[in-house]
């Protein structure tokens, strides 16, 4: 039994099929990359996994349990955390409070939540801005807050949607380190990223989609050499 899998997911918006039959399996403990041209349906796939959109058809199975009919918050409680491509900080709360709110999904008392939040903040390296209001963080800080918050919900499976976009190469290296650290901590990761340097370095396996349909799957090297991926996505430079 696969740890996590999606089966022929389909999502229509009006007449448009944003996702049109995507299936993949993720093994426990791996970093699984999801790539594809803009508008190919990656974020929509995440939205279906995390319960924001109900699939038009298809199934999402986590640890043997169908979850695609569950509400978002239930999915979080089951142990699937996510970040948003368009970041959503809780603007007028401090960074710490942002994370405490997340921690409450696992614990009930203030003291426990604070402790959990602190740990998560330290782990993700946000201690220096702990008491800053979330809205005054720059983009990189906000992206990191997304991860920190998701981590405070103690996910077994973490969905990262372009958390590295907008970082310069040096910052990227830090981001890669953090993601690896999270994986080493025992969390399985599905990651969407357009920056090849990131996705190729950290993914164990990569799944490529185009127009909502699978075009390739395999190790980074295999996918990077795949003709369909090169044509639709990578362009000649990366070949």
């Amino acid at each position: 039994m696969a740890y996590f899998k999606v089966e022929s997911l389909v999502k229509y918006f009006g007449g448009l099929a944003a996702v049109n039959g995507v299936s993949f399996e993720v093994a426990k403990g791996e970093i699984f990359g999801l790539i594809g041209p803009n508008g190919s349906g990656k974020t929509t796939t995440f939205n279906m996994i995390s319960g924001y959109h109900r699939p038009t058809s298809g199934r999402v199975i986590f640890k043997g349990r169908e979850i695609h009919h569950l509400k978002t918050y239930k999915i979080c409680k089951l142990g699937i955390g996510r970040t948003f491509q368009v970041v959503k900080p809780l603007g007028r709360m401090s960074v710490l409070d942002n994370v405490i709110a997340a921690a409450f999904s696992r614990v009930n008392t203030m003291a426990e939540a604070r402790e959990l939040a602190q740990k998560s903040i330290e782990f993700c390296g946000l201690s220096h801005v702990r008491d800053v209001l979330a809205k005054s963080l720059p983009i990189a800080g906000r992206k990191r807050l997304e991860i920190t918050r998701a981590m405070a919900t103690q996910p077994e499976l973490l969905l990262l949607d372009e958390t590295a976009a907008g970082l310069n190469p040096t910052e990227l290296i830090e981001a890669i380190d953090l993601i690896k650290k999270i994986r080493d901590n025992g969390t399985t990761i599905v990651i969407i990223e357009h920056i090849m340097h990131v996705i190729m370095t950290i993914s164990d396996r990569i799944h490529a989609i185009n127009f909502g349909q699978t075009i390739a799957e395999g190790t980074p090297v295999e996918v990077a050499r795949n003709q369909a991926v090169i044509e639709a996505y990578l362009g000649t430079d990366y070949a």
């Binding site: 918050y73 979080c76 007028r92 709360m93 709110a101 409450f104 999904s105």
Partner: protein
């Protein structure tokens, strides 16, 4: 440390008030003030903390008042029983409403609350045979003295403010604010937003309903236009919340005090100050001014609303740092 004492000092002052000031009139104003503390705190919970702005608080207020009133009218029991029922009646209105309308966001939700209130107002007016329609419900007040009412109101105010305080420093409070800041993000953090919005609404409806039944008991008379009034209840509740400070524990207390005082001040021509001046100076222009002021008191009130929002968009407690800087030239340490 000192800051923590303020509420206690305030409480002591309030507890001693009717013993020191025996004037009925001031006691009456204080009872209104305390009632508005309750309503303001309730509104602040759903709107200020949870971000679901209600323009229909009167719906809950009226339900509470009518629960108490109808109980007394039909069953001839004391309207104080309505105190228990009033909060629950408001809940009974709030639940189906929230269940349906919480799928709306922002301004749409606000408009829906407004519509709810209007429906209830028309409904109570039309259902003459049950509610006595516009004839209203009249009961004999229980106490001649205001002091018992005062302490009941004080008790309610203290409990409601305390419960806000407790709530917002715990899990639900964090959840409420998260929902206000970003509902989608909140969902992804494991927050059952619908449940917590309902919880917040329940809190608000309950306390507003309680305030409504207090009103029935204390005033002895209600009719649909009084208790389901957009301006006098719903908007006033918002003003209390906004003037005091949205999303602050003691904001509504400050707001309630200011709004009740200001309203009465405008109504009574600055407590008769201008009339007094006109009489002592005998000056015609002062008399004319006094006349204009008393006639234009609602205008003054409206202007005040406009001014407050322009100058103190986050209320007195919310903008306290700004006020300190501007008015007292004190800079709070960063």
């Amino acid at each position: 440390m000192k800051k923590r004492l303020y509420p206690l000092i305030l409480l002591a002052v309030l507890a001693g008030f009717p013993l020191v000031v025996e004037d009925n009139y001031y006691q009456h104003l204080m009872i209104l003030f305390l009632m508005w503390v309750v309503i303001g705190s309730a509104w602040n919970m759903i709107a200020g903390y949870t971000g679901q702005v209600s323009f229909g608080d009167a719906a809950f207020f009226g339900s509470g008042a009518y629960a108490a009133g109808l109980l007394a009218h039909h069953l001839h029991v004391s309207a104080w029983w309505g105190m228990a029922i009033g909060g629950l009646a408001a809940l009974a209105v709030g639940f189906p409403f929230g269940w349906i309308c919480f799928r709306l966001r922002g301004a749409y939700f606000a408009l829906a609350t407004l519509a709810l209130n209007e429906v209830l107002r028309h409904g109570t007016t039309i259902a003459e045979s049950f509610t006595r329609g516009m004839l209203g419900i009249m009961i004999m007040p229980t106490f001649v003295s205001k002091v018992p009412y005062y302490y009941i109101a004080l008790g309610m105010a203290v409990v409601s403010v305390l419960s806000v305080r407790l709530l917002i420093r715990s899990k639900p409070g964090y959840y409420f604010v998260s929902i206000r800041e970003d509902q989608d993000a909140a969902e992804s953090l494991g927050i059952d937003t619908h449940f917590y919005k309902m919880l917040s609404l329940a809190f608000a409806a309950f306390w507003t309903g309680m305030a409504g039944s207090l009103y029935m008991n204390y005033m002895g008379f209600i009719d649909p236009h009084v208790v389901f009034s957009l301006h006098d209840i719903s908007i006033m509740a918002i003003l209390v919340g906004i003037v005091g400070g949205v999303g602050t524990v003691y904001g509504p207390t400050v707001g309630a005090f200011i709004m009740v005082a200001v309203q009465e001040m405008f109504r009574s021509g600055f407590f008769g100050l201008f009339k007094f001046l006109a009489e002592t100076t005998g000056s015609e222009s002062v008399r004319a001014l006094a006349d204009v002021l008393t006639k234009g008191h609602v205008l003054g009130f409206g202007l005040l609303v406009v001014l407050v929002i322009l100058v103190l968009p986050n209320g007195i407690v919310g903008d306290w740092d700004k006020i300190k800087k501007k008015v007292f030239r004190i800079h709070s340490p960063a």
